[in-house]
């Protein structure tokens, strides 16, 4: 540990507790896209072999494996705390300085900002794990650039939290390329292609496209009089107004955003002789541009055309996520700029004060709740039974009384064993963005092929097909859930991508991770890399 490391570690832990203390209470935080369950099923969809585009691969498989060992709520609490602790610590350690106060400024700037708050409140914890990994990926990239022995193993291990999701994997790739330099491009690309293969391999094998209507619905949004541009440059601007902290409407914020960015730029100039920061800054600008494309003239049309015709271009939807690349050069630059200030910690306090509503889990936004007993009862009844489960009402999101009527993703696919078919179309302000699961589309049209069970979630808005229920057999009737057996269910063959290439991707990734661990900690790696690489 570095001489001043302890203070930095204490600060980062304090930051995490300040933001997330209520999350540590028993129960599950279920808000928008964040769903954790006691024991997530290890099914084909978790590995990218389901009917729908593999949007939660490989994170679903990793969480499913983890929850076989420890309860889901422990996994969730650990993941959420890791976002703030690892992100702030990484940013603090990345600054080439001996002054703890400077590191603290970088730590606060990186982990206490609108990006973290908004993505946390919308439940994008996987993306945020990737965000938290970026400073560590940058450190690994810099070591690779310096030709340090076994640096590639650091890059592999630092990238692991990021490659849990597709956007995280791309964020990590960009950061690694920017820090490792041109001479290491192929090494970085090789590592990234293999590590990200569990999501890109099944994605390529799917022939589905995202709905271009999502471009406008999920474009960056102005949070104050500064409009979308200054909101995004201030690391905010997420599309969903419901998850934006109230403090983002602060009328002074656009001015402070410009001042802080200016300060960060001056800091980067001071830092440049000690650290190759300009490629990182360039990446930050690229991230901001990608975040703003959809609000620039003609941007929507370009993105819609791309999404309609280019496989994988759906990743450009909700472009505000790419502004994550700006956060690291901003934090480093700001820290370097205040290096000569005597009262530099006041800058950290200012950053905390500008976003007070990230504290204490957003004062009620992130609050653990317990699943009603019905959920465990239904899971038990379905355990080992053939037939897939169709979930009603047909709506991707739920609002239950037992979760204070917060908007939350339907927990059924991650709670119940086997395969669950849910409606995956999204409504934004009443405008519907089509889903990507062909099976859900068939279910909406009344096609029950392969459906052996119907689950009705009670106490959430939406319509239930009463005719279907009338001809099904009621096997569980609880206050929160009702389960029906569909008579004469016909089995259907799985319609996911071919298993062999997906399996190969997983094996390749596992081999790379295993080799990195062995190479790093066993003597074989030390002998093989005894001298610095040329």
């Amino acid at each position: 540990m570095r001489p001043n490391g302890l203070k930095l570690y204490a600060t980062c832990t304090a930051l995490a507790l300040l933001a997330l203390a209520p999350v540590l209470w028993p129960g599950y935080v279920l808000v928008y896209d964040m769903v954790f369950t006691p024991e997530q099923p290890l099914n084909a969809a978790a590995f990218g072999l389901g009917d729908a585009l593999p949007r939660a691969v490989p994170v679903d498989a990793v969480v499913a494996l983890a929850t076989q060992v420890v309860p889901g709520q422990v996994v969730q609490k650990a993941a959420l705390l890791a976002i703030v602790v690892a992100g702030s610590l990484g940013a603090g350690l990345l600054v080439p300085t001996e002054r703890t106060g400077v590191r603290v400024v970088a730590a606060v700037a990186y982990s206490w900002n609108a990006y973290v708050a908004e993505r946390l409140f919308i439940g994008h914890w996987t993306l945020l794990l990737g965000y938290a990994a970026l400073p560590w990926v940058a450190m690994a990239g810099l070591r690779l650039r310096d030709g340090e022995p076994r640096a590639w193993t650091r890059l592999v291990l630092a990238s692991l939290p990021a490659v849990l999701s597709a956007p995280g994997g791309i964020l990590a790739l960009g950061t690694a390329l920017a820090t490792a330099g041109r001479r290491k491009v192929w090494q970085v690309l090789g590592v990234s292609v293999v590590l990200n293969s569990p999501w890109w391999a099944p994605s390529l094998l799917h022939d589905g496209f995202s709905d271009p209507a999502g471009v406008e619905a999920f474009s960056a949004r102005g949070e104050n009089w500064g409009g979308p541009v200054l909101s995004v440059l201030g690391l905010g601007g997420i599309w969903n107004a419901e998850v934006v902290p109230a403090s983002r409407a602060n009328p002074v914020l656009p001015v402070l955003t410009v001042l802080l960015l200016g300060l960060a730029f001056l800091g980067l100039r001071r830092l440049a002789p000690r650290l190759p920061v300009w490629p990182l800054a360039g990446l930050g600008v690229l991230g901001a541009v990608l975040a703003l494309v959809a609000v620039l003239p003609g941007g929507v049309a370009v993105l819609e055309a791309l999404i309609e015709h280019v496989p994988g271009a759906g990743l450009l939807r909700d472009g505000q996520k790419w502004v994550a690349w700006l956060a690291l050069p901003f934090a480093l630059g700001l820290a370097a700029a205040v290096e000569r200030f005597r009262a530099r910690l006041l800058v950290a306090v200012l950053l905390l004060g500008l976003l007070p509503d990230l504290a204490w889990g957003g004062f009620g936004r992130l609050e653990p709740v317990r699943y009603p007993a019905d959920w465990a009862a239904v899971r038990e009844k379905l355990d080992g039974q053939p037939g897939d489960v169709a979930v009603y009402p047909l709506s991707a999101f739920r609002r239950f009384d037992w979760n204070d009527r917060r908007t939350q993703l339907d927990p059924a696919p991650r709670y119940l064993p086997g395969t669950t078919v849910v409606d995956d179309s999204l409504s934004v302000g009443g405008r519907v963005v089509a889903g990507e699961d062909p099976r859900a589309a068939r279910l909406r049209a009344g096609d029950l092929s392969g459906i052996g069970w119907v689950l009705v979630e009670r106490g959430t808005p939406g319509r239930v097909d009463e005719e279907l229920l009338a001809r099904s057999e009621l096997v569980h009737d609880g206050p929160d859930l009702a389960l029906y057996r569909v008579p004469g269910a016909v089995e259907v063959a799985p319609n996911g991508p071919a298993a062999a290439p997906v399996l190969l991707a997983w094996v390749a990734t596992g081999l790379l991770i295993g080799t990195s661990l062995l190479w790093r900690w066993l003597p074989v790696g030390r002998f093989a890399s005894a001298r610095r690489e040329e």
Partner: protein, 55 residues
Amino acid sequence: MELVSVLVAIVAGAALAGGVGVLVVEQNHPDKVIEQRIEEGVKAVEPEVLDYGKR
């Protein structure tokens, strides 16, 4: 000395966050918004397909 500064900064930040946060919560607490919704009868006319969010 530096540790003291860090702790002072954290406490000051927490105090500031708490102070302003109380005001923010007073105005925007999700529970309060929900209470208002119920009072206004919004719950009764909720749509069939729930919104992911609003712009």
